[in-house]
Amino acid sequence: MKNLPILIVLLPLVAAQLCLVFSRIHRNVGRWLVITAVSASLVMSVMQLLNVIKDGPIHYYFGNYRAPIGIEFSIDTVNGIMLILVCVIGLLTFLFSSEFRVSSDKTIVGGMNTVLCLLITGLLGMTSTGDVFNLYVFLEITSLSAYCLIAMGGNKGVIAAYRYMLVGTVAATLYLLGVAVLYANTGTLNMADMAVLLNEGDKNKAMLLAMILFIAAFGIKMALFPFHGWQPAAYTHAETSARPLISGVMGKIPAYAMFRYLFCVYGTDFKYFDFILDVLGVLSVCAMLYGSIRAMGQKDMRKLLAYSSVAQIGYISLGFAIGTPLALAGAFLHMFGHAFMKAGLFFCVGAIVYRYGKFSLEDVGRLYKKMPITCGLLVLAALSMVGIPPAVGFFSKWYLGLAAAREAKWIYLAVLVISSLLNAVYFFRLIEKFFINPDKGLPQKRERGRIEASAWILIPVIVCFVAILALGLCNAKIVDVLLLTLGEVGL
């Protein structure tokens, strides 16, 4: 039991390392190996979360070297839930991807599974680590595998991946520079230890400098306005079967890391804390408006969803910018919710591509007759994005709005309202295209199967559907669990 934190990360890692070997035997052996590993991680992360709720945060020391000497994993309720989220979406993506044959599979069998599994490993590691440099290494694992998965989406994907690689490396470099500044002032790499040392003596200026670097770095990685330039092309052209994971979770974990620095390492004693929060607030307000406005003009489903992600990331950072425990809980709830919404929407896009090979919004008229389940999820996820109860999107907005109102930040409340109306414009346009536009009589690329697509495609769709509703209806429980940790940080 005491080894749960490492096992959650280790199993996908080992599975990825061995995937190529087992794929030699048969393609499916490697695939089932990684699927088993990720499922096991999922089970263990659930167990771990229960432990954390019962006994408080877990600290895991590698090699039994105590905190500042060795590397530490620290699990609290927030990242306990995030681990589950990553595992679930990762698992669904694996199931989903099994129906898609990628072109590289001829050259290297199981290569895509390896990379996808390493992406999951990186995300899990970034979530659970309590060491600043370890975070960097996990960040790079995540980035590298993401570059690869984006590049797999064809020629435009390669360009998008290259541009993302340049920007992403700048982000990693800036992060490293920030770490250098903090290390120069504290001499430690452990987050908890750093939090203690930073509060001794006057280090506010160094901290401010490092925080600006971190905001730029994580801003790029999470595609926060104005650092989002790489994101729409990358989400659009990524490999179809990997896109749900990339769009659903990859942007969230850097956001979590930013939260970690802002609230756990720095804390409210930091002299320029309010200033940083205001900066974040301005950025997120811009993101929410800009992303929504840009999304309105898109004709390609994938681009529309990508720009909508820019806006939705704004909601998350808005929660950080408000800074009260309730707002943070709202931000994290939105993170979980949005992961399922966006991943779900991309599962839908994938299912449509699987059967018809089309991305354009003009082609999808009356598709609901042929793919009712997929379109059901599409509608639910879209409504959730707009913030219609009882989907989860409404409740995260409720917490954000409530926290903003309690802090008397009326502008944030107004922007929340405006942004969700802008969301409504393009999401109802999307729904309209599916339900109202005349049938274009698309030629089928693949047969419909017994239901409407194969089970591996439908399972993720159904799970996302249930998850959006369940997260919405059980949000009070989740927020309670989140507040166990968040109640101690924040304003």
Binding site: F133, Y136, V137, E140, S143, L144, Y147, C148, A151, N155, K156, V158, I159, A161, Y162, M165, L166, T169, V170, A172, T173, L176, L177, A180, Y183, A184, L189
Partner: protein, 123 residues
Amino acid sequence: MELFLAEKGIYFLTLLLLGVGLAGIIVCSNYMKKLICMNIMQVAVIFFFLCLGQKAGGTIPVAMDSMINAADYINPLPHGLMLTAIVVSLGTTGVGLALLYRIKDRYGSIEEKDIIEREREKK
């Protein structure tokens, strides 16, 4: 001034390098040059980090029986970390080069304006 340079000067040299790399990524229109600038930037940060390992009067961090004081050896931690960072930057560069190969193969050029033009043509 001299004292300042001796105490802090090296930081600014590395930062200068970082700035050159960053500016190169932004202004260069050739993708290969961008990649090179990216590398320059990574190396600059590695140098920056290594500055922190310096210790006056320290020697290389291989323990000798004659010296047991911590003050006698330079700080090994930045070196260890930067080994990792170097390998990571190596991996990134490798992937970047592979991507460039693909771009060149597909578009016949790695100049940004050519690629944008080609993309526009296809539409």
